[in-house]
Amino acid sequence: MSGTVGTTSTRAAGTLVLDPIKCDGRGLCHDIAPHLIELDEWGYPLLPGGSLRAPLDRDDLGAARDATHACPLLALHIDKPPAA
């Protein structure tokens, strides 16, 4: 990694994690954080990067938190980075 890049800007503020078995595609996460969570053609959430774990910028942390709280099935949570 380049030494000119500050570690605070490259380190994720947390990781948004989707449990695909709990998820039923109700779409409330997308309603509340459309810029962060898209829906696929079947109405299921697509996290940034397309997998079940999406590293979050500090700026996205609030929206991600709102999305996790909106899910009636508790299918979303945020993994905090380990304390430095």
């Binding site: 695909p20 078995i21 709990k22 696929d40 697509l46 397309g50």
Partner: protein, 439 residues
């Protein structure tokens, strides 16, 4: 060819003991330290033969670590062992051949693994209704009469579903009677009823039994250095003598085909690994060594060690369409991208094989393959997407022909021909998640 596993021998307990002797005393686990056999397994370089080829000693250590409280998710300490003889891959026959030919080597391996990790329960899982159930029951009876097993091994028979043989699904079934995958899938930490669970393919355990009998250095004396020993291969499609054979890892694909009487005609490509594996063009694949790293470098996936040759009379896209439809029906119905994505991909493949797809449809299909990857609770959708994506790439000329309304396969024998990929008795893909029985 080297025959360590006694394929085709139908070994009785007496035959087994005459060949290998009784299982030597395996040192038990002590607290946080696994039994000393783990060092022999590491020296052997044994890697799991169920499909992942993960180093077996690391799995043994991980189960011991989490059962000792180091894995923070483990609730209780007593681990268990599950031998996976489910043979989930329809194109594979190796588990059945092994359990019929050399059940005692597998059962020795279960005993040795159980001692090494301090397991208090041991199971062998064979899918319900399989002909191998009787062979395993007979072997267990013989051992009970001889009084040679320290830990009682129980046979369990989960439903014959593709995903039921997935590691976390198997642990789930033994613990709670549901053969569905679990997310996140970490059975070595929280498997059956929350207990650290060692799930190993029966062939891996047979090899582990060999290590316990003969030592790690002996084991590593044949095969590819990166994955030593021998491996069972199921060869099918356009070869003279399809079936299961044992070869040293690193044997070339050409030599494997020769051992099966050679190809019946020109070969267009191969399916490697199974239905969650990958297709390759024939090209110079014959020179590729059959071990996980070389097969990957050659563009394939060794997986459950299936090698299926597509001859010139077979339309690979027809094969893919049939198998993809079956794979869609085998979803556990738990995750959206699998519930809806696999039938969509299967429907696309059907259109393509029937030469009813246009460029836009092909583009949509490729997009869907990306969309269903990395988004499931298990790897069933990923495996199916890889099966389709690698096939579209390997047979891109055939894809172009089909988009143009043509097909190069002569005769279309696939519907009744023995060269067709096996698809078990059809289940109804339209059943919803509540209509599927995983108990």
């Amino acid at each position: 060819m080297t025959g360590r596993l006694g394929i085709g021998s139908r070994a009785t307990l007496a035959d087994h003991v005459a060949q290998h002797g009784y299982l030597p005393r395996v040192p038990g686990r002590r607290g946080a330290a696994p039994g000393a056999l783990v060092d022999q397994v590491e020296a052997a370089g044994l890697r799991g033969r169920g499909g992942g080829w993960f180093p077996t000693h690391l799995k043994l250590r991980a189960v011991v670590d989490s059962s000792h409280g180091r894995g923070r998710l483990s609730r209780t300490r007593n681990p268990l062992v599950i031998a996976n003889g489910m043979e989930g891959e329809p194109a594979s026959g190796k588990d059945a051949v092994l359990l019929t030919s050399a059940p005692h080597l597998v059962l020795d391996g279960i005993q040795a693994a159980a001692r090494t990790i301090g397991a208090t329960d041991a199971f062998i899982a064979v899918h319900r209704g399989a002909p191998t159930v009787a062979a395993v029951e007979r072997a267990l009876d013989d051992r009970a009469r001889a009084g040679i097993d320290e830990i009682r091994i129980r046979i369990v028979t989960p439903p014959a579903r593709y995903v039921a043989s997935e590691e976390s699904a198997l642990a789930h079934w033994v613990g709670d009677g549901q053969a569905t995958p679990v997310f996140p899938d970490r059975p070595f930490q929280r498997g059956s009823a929350g207990r650290p669970t060692l799930v190993q393919n029966v062939e891996t355990l047979a090899h582990l039994g060999l290590v316990a009998h003969h030592g790690g250095a002996w084991f590593a004396s044949v095969g590819a250095p990166s994955a030593p020993g021998t491996t069972l291969v199921t060869v099918g499609g356009g070869v003279a003598n399809a079936g299961v054979l044992e070869v040293p890892t690193g044997t070339s694909v050409a030599d494997i085909l020769r051992a099966c009487g050679g190809a019946t005609g020109p070969i267009r490509g191969f399916l490697t690994g199974g239905y969650g594996g990958g297709w390759v063009e024939s090209g110079d694949f014959g020179s590729v060594a059959w071990d996980p790293d070389s097969v990957r470098a050659g563009g394939g996936v060794i997986g459950a060690s299936v090698l299926w040759a597509v001859d010139e009379n077979t339309c690979p896209l027809d094969e893919m369409a049939r198998v993809t439809a079956w794979m869609a029906g085998e979803s556990a119905g738990q995750c959206g991208p699998c519930i809806f994505g696999l039938p969509a991909v299967a429907s696309d493949m059907r259109s393509l094989s029937l030469r009813q797809m246009d460029e836009a449809g092909a583009k949509r299909l490729r997009g869907r393959l990306g969309l269903i990857t990395n988004r499931g609770g298990c790897k069933h959708p990923d495996g199916t997407a890889r099966f389709v994506a690698t096939g579209l790439a390997a047979f891109r000329d055939e894809v172009d022909l089909h988009l143009d309304g043509r097909c190069s396969a002569v005769g279309h024998r696939h519907l009744t021909d023995a060269h067709a990929l096996p698809v078990p008795a059809a289940r109804l893909p339209e059943l919803d998640r509540h209509g599927r029985d995983f108990t």
